[in-house]
């Protein structure tokens, strides 16, 4: 079985996101006064072969903790899709 793990890594709410701020300012300059805030994160797709969804999910979680996210300042979420 193969699964696609759709992983989102985002800065924790308490961490200043200067990229998001800069983009927010640009949107403000474009006249989008309705935009209140912008936060920028990463989207990562990982294809994992595993026995079942549980095993693939465990692998995805492990690689997030070990490498893809720095949990001191980032949160992550995983969505699995069978492919």
């Amino acid at each position: 079985m193969a699964y696609k793990a759709k992983i989102q890594v985002t800065l924790r709410p308490s961490i200043l996101d200067v990229q998001g701020k800069a983009v927010g300012h640009a949107l403000d300059n474009l006249g989008y006064s309705a935009v209140d805030a912008v936060r920028i994160g990463k989207y990562i797709e990982v294809t994992i072969s595993g026995e079942d969804e549980k095993a693939a999910g465990q692998t995805a979680d492990e690689i997030c903790r070990k490498l893809l996210a720095n949990t001191v300042m980032e949160d992550y979420s995983i969505e699995l899709e069978k492919i």
């Binding site: 961490i15 200043l16 200067v18 701020k21 800069a22 490498l67 893809l68 720095n70 001191v72 300042m73």
Partner: protein, 234 residues
Amino acid sequence: MAEVTIGVVVFPGSNCDHDTEYAAGLFDGVKTRMLWHNDHDLQDCDMIILPGGFSYGDYLRAGSIARFSPIMREVIGFAGEGRPVLGICNGFQVLLESGLLEGALSRNRDKKFICRHVPVRVENATTIFTSLYRQGEVLQLPVAHGEGNYFAPRETVESLEANNQIVFRYCDPEGNITDESNLNGSVGSIAGIVNAKGNVLGLMPHPERASEALLGSEDGSRMFRSAIDYLAGA
């Protein structure tokens, strides 16, 4: 003086490796070696330096991929034996990613890449890397980074404070710690920290770029000298 061998790790994307080798090698009795990231052997090195640059292009996060290079397994073991490891700028980021030091570095508060000489106050002159400085001395050291905004959870910062592990802070020219002199927004104006054992130091400023009068400051050379004196006497 006993001979001391200093190893400088070269990651793909390191760009301060030769400057660091040069600055560390300015002293009598010091041999230097360049250690490739794919090597598994620290050879006869008495001290390891992780230099500045953009290891692995800073892909994913600064230092995050370098941390898993073969040589880092050896460096982590070496540090575990209580032997000296110094991480400068990107090297500091690698030390944090590898868990040898606590905390993380995110983008500078004002969104800018900052490249200039800044005053830095010595908070702990008792480490093996800072013994030739005076407590509270204000150094002139260059910084060159876009992601030097040190962050750690409050409990971590409190324990760093309590254990005297904060070694350098950004300050104004008179040595005062102010919000204005905190150039990148680091928590507590932290510019450099040491591990609990005191053998692993990471800092954002570049001591190797302040190692000769010609460079505008010689304040960085005493950092290498302190560690070399320690090793020669050991």
